[in-house]
C-alpha cells in the first residue's frame, strides 16, 4: 500500500552475509545473463531510486539508496558487474559494506556516469535492455541516455526482472519471514501495551521504536478511523486516541531490504488496544486464504474472493486494493486484480488485504503477508 516516504531510511543498516550470502547474487547474475542471451541483450541496466523503488537495483547489488536519488547496476554478458549510485565519494566505505560488487562508482548523475562507463570500457553495445528506467528515472536523465545511445537499440526489459522477482528463492523467503516477525511483534506490542492518554503520534513513535530495536531499516504506519468523515488511511497526527475509538492500523516493515506488511483492526478500551476478532470475518478470511493456490490465475483468485465477500453479504472496501506481491518492494507484481493474468506459483510472497463493511459489524480490515508454496498459503505475519 502507498505510504508516506521518509526523509531518510534511518534504521539499522547491515548486510548479514549468513542471511543473504553472496552466492545468492552470483546465482541471480547467472540467471539474468541466461535471459540476456536468449533475448540477445548485450548490456542490461537495472535502475532504482528513492525509498520505495530500489528493488531492481538492489536485486543484484544488495545496496539501497537511502535518499531520493538514483542507483544503477550495469550487467554485461560477461565480465564485471558495475554499480553506480548518486552520492558523494566519501560515502563509498559505507556503500562497499553493503554490496559484493567491486566496481562501485559514486556520481552526481547515474545517466552521465553510464555514458562515461561506455567510453572508458570502449563498449559499443548494439542492444541495451532497460529495467526500471522508463518508469522511474527522472525525465532529463532518461532523455540524456536515449540521446547518448542513439546508435543502439534500446529495449524494455522490465519483464525480465519482474519475473525473477515474483518468485522468491528460499533465502528471500527467509528474509521475508524475519521481517514478518517484526511486523507481528509490532502488533503484539500495540495489543499488549497500556498507553496512558496516547496521541496518534505517540502510538506511532512507540510502535516504530519496537520495530527499530528489532532491526527495521524502514518502518511505515498508517491509520484509518472509520468514524472520521471520509475516513481513509493517513499518517498519524498530533490527535488524542480516545476510549471507544475504532482504529485500523497498517504496518509495513523493511528489514535487510525485504518488506512485509499487515493490517489489523483495534477497538480502544480505556488505555488498551484490543484486536477485533470477529468469528464471521475470521472464517471469511480463512476461506479466502485457502483459495490462494498455486497454478491459479490472479484474476481468478480476485474474482473468487469478491464472490466470497458478496456471498457473506459484506460491502467490500476496495480503495486500497486486495493485495500484491511483496519482497524488495512493498508493492510489486503480481497484483491481486481483475487484469492480472499471472499464474500463482510456488515461492511467491504476497500481501492479502480484506476490507469489509457490515451493518452490525462496522468497518474491519485484516491483512497479512503470505508465503505460497506447494503446501498451500502460509500467513507469516502472525
Amino acid at each position: 500500500m502507498e505510504t508516506m516516504q521518509p526523509l531518510l531510511k534511518s534504521g539499522r543498516t547491515a548486510w548479514d552475509r549468513i542471511n543473504m550470502p553472496v552466492e545468492e547474487f552470483h546465482e541471480r547474475v547467472k540467471k539474468i545473463r541466461k535471459e540476456m542471451k536468449k533475448e540477445k541483450i548485450d548490456l542490461l541496466l537495472l535502475y532504482g531510486n528513492g525509498f520505495n523503488e530500489y528493488g531492481n537495483y538492489c536485486y543484484l547489488s544488495n545496496h539501497m539508496i537511502r535518499l531520493p536519488q538514483g542507483g544503477m547496476v550495469v550487467v554485461p554478458t560477461k565480465g564485471e558487474v558495475t554499480m553506480m549510485f548518486e552520492g558523494a565519494a566519501r560515502g563509498l566505505p559505507s556503500v562497499r559494506k553493503m554490496t559484493w560488487i567491486d566496481d562501485v562508482r559514486p556520481s552526481g548523475d547515474v545517466a552521465a556516469e553510464f555514458v562515461k562507463y561506455l567510453t572508458e570500457k570502449k563498449i559499443c553495445p548494439s542492444v541495451i535492455g532497460f529495467a526500471g528506467l522508463r518508469r522511474l528515472m527522472p525525465y532529463h536523465q532518461y532523455q540524456f541516455l536515449l540521446d547518448s545511445l542513439a546508435g543502439c537499440k534500446v529495449i524494455d526489459s522490465d519483464h525480465l526482472l519482474n519475473e525473477f522477482r515474483m518468485v522468491k528463492s528460499r533465502t528471500e523467503v527467509l528474509q521475508i519471514r524475519r521481517t514478518a516477525r517484526i511486523v507481528a511483534g509490532v502488533f503484539d506490542f500495540v495489543a499488549n501495551t497500556p498507553f496512558t492518554e496516547p496521541t496518534e503520534n505517540v502510538l506511532e513513535a512507540a510502535a516504530r521504536r519496537e520495530a527499530r530495536l528489532e532491526g527495521a531499516e524502514d518502518f511505515r504506519m498508517m491509520i484509518l478511523k472509520p468514524s472520521e468523515k471520509n475516513g481513509a488511511f493517513r499518517p498519524t497526527e498530533e490527535r488524542p486516541i480516545k476510549s471507544g475509538d475504532w482504529m485500523i492500523i497498517y504496518v509495513a516493515v523493511e528489514f535487510e531490504r525485504y518488506w512485509a506488511e499487515a493490517v489489523r483492526t483495534f477497538a480502544v478500551k480505556e488505555s488498551a488496544f484490543a484486536e477485533i476478532q470477529h468469528e464471521t470475518v475470521k472464517t471469511l478470511y480463512e476461506n479466502i486464504l485457502q483459495g490462494m493456490k498455486i497454478r491459479k490465475r490472479m484474476s481468478q483468485f480476485y474474482k473468487e474472493t469478491r464472490a466470497k465477500i458478496a456471498k457473506a453479504k459484506f460491502e467490500e472496501i476496495s480503495d486500497y486494493g486486495m493485495g500484491q506481491g511483496i519482497g524488495l518492494s512493498v508493492k510489486e507484481l503480481p497484483l491481486i486484480a481483475k487484469e492480472d493474468r499471472t499464474i500463482l506459483a510456488d515461492g511467491m510472497c504476497l500481501s492479502l488485504r480484506l476490507g469489509i463493511r457490515g451493518k452490525e459489524l462496522g468497518t474491519i480490515m485484516i491483512g497479512d503477508t503470505i508465503y505460497l508454496s506447494k503446501a498451500g498459503p502460509e500467513v507469516v505475519t502472525r
Binding site: E2, L7, L67, R135, A205, R209, R212, N230, R234
Partner: protein
C-alpha cells in the same frame, strides 16, 4: 503568508514571465535537501509518487494527488478547494490541462522530479517552461507561521539531542541509540527525522546506524535533523565515551571557535560566503587548512526549505548570495582532523538584522560520558 497573498505573488510572477499557467509537481518526496515545492504551495505533504497542482492566470487552482484515496487527507489539509484523486494520473493531468484550456507557455516547477511518461505527456499539450525560481522567490520570506513551526522544531531537536547524549553508553548498538532519539522526537511531534551518525575511535564520515556496539574510548558523532510541516532544523554534536585526551578537547575547541567566528559574521545583508571563509580561516590558522576541502569535510552548512539560501546545496566561500532576514541556516564546521578523526559541531540559526539567533538551547560543547 496567507494563501491569498501566496497566490497573488504566484500570478504576478506568472504574468511577468508571460506564462499562461503553472504546474507544480511532486514525486512525493519532501527531503531536507530537496524540499517539496508542492508542499510549500499547497501546505500539504504529498504521499504518492505523482502529485501536481495546476494554477491558471485567473487564479483557479486544482490539486491532483496519487493514490486517489489520499484526496481525503489532502482536502482536509490544503487551502486548495478543488482536490482530485486520479486513477490514471498522467491521463487525468493531461485532461485537467485541457479542461483548464491551458496551452502555450506554461511554467513547470520541479520538472526534475518528473518521469518520462509525465513529462512527454504534458509536453504534447503545453510549451513547458522550467520555472522553479517562481516558488523559490516567494518562499524566501519566512512567514510568522513558518517561524512558529521552526521554533517548535527547535524544541524537538533539543529533545532529540538530549536523548542522543543520554543514550550514549557502552554496549548500546548504533541503531538502538537512533531508535531512542527517533522515538523521542516523533513523540514530541516531528513528522519525520533525518539522522546520520558514526561511532569509533577514529571516524571518517557520518552514515546510517549500523550494528556496531559503542565502546569505551569511542567518539560518537551525530547529525540530528527533525522536520515538521516542511520546516527543518539541524544540530551536530559529538560525545566522547570515557575520559577524553587533552588533544580531543584542544581539537574540538578549534571547531567551536570556527563556529563562533562564522556566526559572529552573519547578519542580514552579509555575504553568505563569509560563513565558509571565516570557518576555514580559523581551522586553517590552527594548522588544518589542507583539510578544509573534500574528502575531509563535506559541507560547511546549508539552508532549509524552498527558497532558502543554497537550498539543497552547500555553503561555499565562492557563493554570491547575501544573507536575508529570517533565513534558517545550518552552520557546521564538521571536520576531519588527523589526530581525532571526524568531529561534529553545528547549529541552526535564524538570520536577523543584527546577527543570528541560535534556535537550539542545547549547549554547544564536547560532551563527555564517563562510565
Amino acid at each position: 503568508m496567507s494563501a491569498n497573498i501566496k497566490m497573488e505573488k504566484v500570478i504576478r510572477l506568472m504574468n511577468q514571465k508571460g506564462l499562461n499557467g503553472l504546474l507544480i509537481y511532486s514525486r512525493g518526496v519532501s527531503n531536507m535537501l530537496s524540499p517539496s515545492y508542492l508542499q510549500y504551495l499547497a501546505e500539504f505533504r504529498p504521499m504518492g509518487p505523482r502529485n501536481a497542482a495546476v494554477v491558471t492566470k485567473s487564479g483557479e487552482v486544482v490539486l491532483m494527488v496519487d493514490p486517489p484515496w489520499d484526496s481525503f487527507r489532502a482536502s482536509s489539509k490544503t487551502w486548495i478547494k478543488d482536490v482530485h484523486g486520479g486513477s490514471d494520473f498522467v491521463k487525468d493531468l493531461v485532461g485537467l490541462l485541457r479542461q483548464l484550456k491551458l496551452s502555450g507557455p506554461v511554467g513547470v516547477v520541479a520538472s526534475r522530479e518528473m518521469t518520462f511518461d509525465v513529462y512527454t505527456a504534458i509536453k504534447k499539450v503545453v510549451d513547458v517552461q522550467k520555472v522553479d525560481d517562481i516558488l523559490e522567490e516567494i518562499a524566501r520570506e519566512k512567514t510568522e507561521r513558518e517561524l512558529e513551526v521552526i521554533r517548535k522544531v527547535a524544541r524537538i531537536t533539543d529533545a532529540g539531542a538530549e536523548a542522543f547524549i543520554r543514550g550514549v553508553r557502552v554496549g548500546v548498538r548504533e541503531y538502538e541509540l537512533v531508535a531512542e532519539l527517533e522515538y523521542v522526537m516523533r513523540a514530541e511531534g516531528a513528522d519525520d527525522i533525518f539522522i546520520l551518525m558514526s561511532s569509533g575511535k577514529h571516524n571518517n564520515e557520518m552514515h546510517e546506524p549500523t550494528d556496531r556496539r559503542l565502546r569505551e574510548g569511542d567518539v560518537i558523532i551525530g547529525e540530528i535533523s527533525p522536520g515538521l510541516e516542511g520546516q527543518f532544523m539541524q544540530l551536530c554534536r559529538t560525545v566522547y565515551l570515557g575520559k577524553p585526551s587533552p588533544v580531543l578537547h584542544e581539537k574540538y575547541d578549534i571547531l567551536l571557535r570556527a563556529l563562533d567566528a562564522s556566526l559572529a559574521a552573519m547578519r542580514t545583508g552579509a555575504s553568505a560566503s563569509v560563513i565558509t571563509s571565516t570557518m576555514n580561516q580559523v581551522i586553517g590558522e590552527a594548522g588544518y587548512g589542507k583539510y578544509c576541502g573534500p574528502p575531509y569535510m563535506r559541507s560547511r552548512g546549508h539552508g532549509f526549505g524552498v527558497g532558502s539560501i543554497a537550498p539543497g546545496a552547500e555553503l561555499t566561500d565562492k557563493m554570491q548570495a547575501r544573507l536575508e532576514r529570517h533565513q534558517v541556516v545550518a552552520v557546521h564546521p564538521n571536520q576531519y582532523i588527523p589526530e581525532t578523526g571526524y568531529l561534529a559541531c553545528g547549529e541552526s540559526v535564524l538570520v536577523t538584522d543584527t546577527g543570528v539567533e541560535r534556535l537550539s538551547k542545547t549547549e554547544t560543547k564536547l560532551y563527555v560520558k564517563e562510565r
